[in-house]
């Protein structure tokens, strides 16, 4: 820019602003615009096409009177709680074990983390095969002589959602392990020396000193896992297709079906707004906490 141009605040630093246009457009149009549009239209009676006949909370009332949605919401709860608890615990335990100066640490790490590189579709299809009653684990155990052994969670309405938990844990715990291991490596060596001098057992040191010190790592991990949980979609499509019946449906799938298959836009948008609200409940307190933490520094 030539210096002879009269300074004007809009043109100051013009190149940077031009360079940031894609970001500004994404923020304004997609993240703010699309989200507000969805929330707004979820209060209308839109079916095949969006329209502006407002009906208040009718779509939401209908949503929570639809068994399929309620099953989806409950399934998300079950999947969420189990995934959160088990992936945090298993991820931390694996990280703690790997942190004991063991041999082949790199090999173990590579093995625990590789499923994370695979897509949910691949994950879902592999576990579908392993859990198929006719050929999978059930058959293997029966062939060993336990003729009445039953393990057919994929065909059982009560347990299909747990098949998704199992596959999801296989795919995702490696990530938690990697984050936790990085957190453990950030703990000061002196803490360990001090606790050894004081004769505190290793497990106590972990439970009462190390874990509290790793609070930020735990919180970040939990927020990351939780927002991923709310989104779960591909895994269900590949592993169970939502079945048997509607037994393993999840909200993200409900949204997709009502928007793109059943031409019931209002329902799809209302359901997606509920998903958004769930995420906001998780993310906003965390964001505020982070922000305050930053200010204090």
């Amino acid at each position: 820019m030539s210096e002879t141009v009269r300074p004007n605040s809009l043109f100051k630093n013009l190149n940077a602003k031009v360079a940031a246009i894609p970001m500004i457009a994404t923020v304004l149009i997609v993240f703010i615009g699309c989200t507000l549009w969805t929330a707004l239209i979820s209060f209308t009676s839109s079916r095949t096409l969006p329209e502006l006949t407002f009906v208040g909370f009718d779509q939401y009332a209908r949503l929570f009177n639809t068994p399929r949605w309620n099953i989806s919401a409950i399934n998300l709860g079950i999947f969420g709680v189990f995934t959160l608890v088990f992936s945090t615990v298993i991820g931390f335990v694996l990280a703690a074990l790997l942190d004991q100066k063991i041999r082949f640490e790199g090999a173990f790490r590579t093995i625990f983390l590789y499923p994370y590189a695979l897509s949910f579709i691949v994950t879902g299809l592999v576990w579908q095969w392993i859990l198929t009653p006719t050929y999978g684990i059930q058959r293997v155990v029966r062939d060993l002589g336990f003729e009445t052994f039953t393990f057919s969670i994929l065909n059982d309405q009560r347990f299909a959602i747990y098949a998704i938990v199992i596959a999801g844990l296989w795919q995702g715990t490696g990530l938690v392990m990697a984050l936790m291991l990085a957190g453990l490596r950030g703990i000061d060596e002196d803490i360990w020396k001090a606790s050894r001098v004081d004769g505190i057992p290793v497990w106590k040191t972990y439970l009462f000193i190390v874990i509290p010190m790793m609070r930020p790592v735990f919180i970040t991990t939990i927020v990351l896992i939780s927002t991923g949980i709310v989104r779960v979609y591909d895994l269900v499509v590949a592993l169970t297709g939502g079945g048997p019946g509607n037994a393993s449906e999840v909200p993200a799938k409900y949204v997709y079906e009502f928007m793109f298959r059943r031409a019931n836009l209002g329902q799809g948008l209302a359901a997606s707004t509920i998903m958004l609200t769930t995420v906001l409940i998780i993310v906003i307190p965390w964001a505020l906490m982070e922000y305050r933490g930053e200010k204090r520094k």
Partner: protein, 300 residues
């Protein structure tokens, strides 16, 4: 928030004893059992894909193949059926390549320039936009899907390659911008100031000073995008259009189709083929892959 330290700083646990104590044996056993659990599905996938159908019906899923056959692999690649078309998974593979290459290049170019502007050329409001951008990474995709369908349709790119490329660029932006911004901000500011004094402008500094210094972070970004875009299913289903169906979508159609006799060996071969690209990237990139994960977790 505290930054996550790289894994290379070494373990903090107790120094290993010379002899194997019961505690050490316990640790190794638990780790080995866990490792077996993680490897098992990959093992099952591979051996199933090498068996013939008669052997699959007779044997169990964990026993290695008696007679190794590569027929399922060639069937999966060149003649597996999705609906009426039996041209194999190669169609989806090339579609994914076509989506992947431009999406990776465009999303990284845009995000690197964004990150550079945010790190070195802050303007009024730039931090606010950046905060909302990061926040946007947490919004479930389902919330923005339908309006984006309308927008891409109005632009005339719904169901086309440019459409899906734009979608990948948009949703890759938060994490990539964060990655680049943090990296550029970590470079010594003297470098930037000296270039400014010498009269270099925005683009000149970017191309002649910043880019040559940022090869490692570009590698991290490429790995993140290649695995992320290759593994995408949702955007592919909606935005790519029936002519550009990516590999994951085609794989799911092949395996979960309800017609015909299920050929489990072909299905598993197809599954490995789809997982092969991110797996190869993972096994060959090791540290960079982990760095990408850490970058995503340092700040959300």
């Amino acid at each position: 928030m505290t930054a996550i330290t790289p894994l290379s700083t070494g373990p903090h646990g107790k120094r290993p004893a010379r002899i194997f104590t019961p505690a050490r044996i316990m640790i190794y056993s638990v780790l080995l059992v866990a490792a077996l659990y993680y490897i098992l599905p990959l093992y099952v996938m591979i051996i199933t894909s090498l068996k013939g159908m008669p052997e699959i019906r007779l044997g169990n899923i964990f026993s290695p193949p008696v007679e190794i056959t590569f027929q399922p692999w060639s069937t999966a690649w060149s003649s597996a059926c999705t609906g009426l078309y039996c041209e194999g998974l190669k169609v989806g593979f090339w579609n994914s390549v076509q989506i992947l290459i431009p999406s990776v290049i465009i999303s990284i170019l845009i995000a690197s320039v964004n990150g550079y502007a945010l790190a070195n050329w802050r303007f009024k409001g730039s931090e606010i936009f950046f905060s909302i951008l990061l926040f946007g990474a947490f919004i479930p995709y389902q919330v923005m899907l339908y309006p984006l369908v309308i927008i891409t349709r109005e632009l005339g790119i719904f169901g086309t390659l440019p459409g899906i490329i734009m979608i990948h660029t948009i949703f890759g932006m938060p994490i990539l911008t964060l990655l680049f911004r943090n990296y550029f901000a970590s470079l010594p500011t003297e470098l930037f100031k000296a270039a400014r004094v010498d009269g270099a402008g925005f683009w000149q500094i970017f191309f002649q000073i910043m880019l040559p210094l940022s090869l490692p972070i570009f590698v991290v970004a490429i790995i993140m995008q290649v695995t992320g875009i290759w593994n995408d299913f949702l955007f592919g289903v909606i935005f790519a259009g029936s002519k550009n169906v990516p590999m994951t979508v085609q794989l799911n159609n092949i395996v979960n189709s309800t017609q015909g006799v299920k050929e489990y060996n072909v299905n598993m071969a197809a599954t490995i083929l789809t997982g092969a690209v991110p797996l190869l990237v993972y096994f060959f990139s090791g540290k960079y892959f982990v760095r990408g994960i850490a970058a995503g977790a340092v700040k959300g």
